[in-house]
Symmetry: C2
Subunit: 147 residues, 2 copies
Amino acid sequence: MRTVEAILEAMHERGCRVTGPRRVIVEFVLEQCEPFSAEDVFRALRRVQQTIGRATVFRTLDLLAELGVVERVHHPSGTHRYVVSSDGHRHHVVCIRCGRVAEFSGCNLEPILASIADQTRFRILDHWLELSGLCQTCQGETMAVSR
Amino acid sequence: MRTVEAILEAMHERGCRVTGPRRVIVEFVLEQCEPFSAEDVFRALRRVQQTIGRATVFRTLDLLAELGVVERVHHPSGTHRYVVSSDGHRHHVVCIRCGRVAEFSGCNLEPILASIADQTRFRILDHWLELSGLCQTCQGETMAVSR
DNA sequence: GATTAGTTGATACTGAGTATCATAAGGAGC
DNA sequence: GCTCCTTATGATACTCAGTATCAACTAATC
């Protein structure tokens, strides 16, 4: 797990300035354990620091994505979410009822990717596996209330 | 490959009306062999039929997605694209340079999904595997022009 | 042909994200 | 600590994708 200071240091090494707003955003982002939108960050920080600008939030999240601190996740709505990237390669399952997200590791897609590369003649550089379903809680509820 | 008439018939069976705009949109969609945005459809059809409305295009594409005629694909920009779906369960590889899309079948994810369900306690209902990379043509080009 | 419920298109709106630009402030060098 | 230069900021206005509304229209059933 990276610390706020380590991330700000990485920014500095990259030739970026360590500013108040960036520090506040990094601190906020590291506290999140669920995916969040830029708007979430903006709204939460507005409550703490009235003056922070929307553009700054977007810019800083872009920077954090470039630094590998967060990852952009596509949301079915078509908007971006961000997740703090943990070590290793991870994916998410989204609950279609309550929106809860679970992470899982070890997707072991390599053999599949190899056969696809073969089939399509593409060089596969990235993959995005997104699952949806019902979390444990909502499984119970849907027994009663059928959808 | 489905025909325009078969699709309009499916709409009718579903209790939807077969209207002029829907016919025009279905005809246009079936001609596409590359992914397209709703805006693409709107602009192309506006040239042919001045009066078609933006909302109608979005609504009809939604309907076609429900009927399984087209599939929604996420685009790195965060907007939706549509592709005409062929038979069976298929996924796509999108070229990050030219936007070309290749389909592939036989994703064989079942063992992986089972282990994920086990790990997360979710009941997995749907999965979405989307790959990005370089198509054969762009692989050649990037050798010369490094990115 | 009359009826009626689904569909349309114009319009205005929302929400995410970007462009612009004058002002503020980090930090390197002294 | 101070200066200066450059980057970063935030307010604002904008774009773009997609949605909501609603009166007018029309497909399809009788």
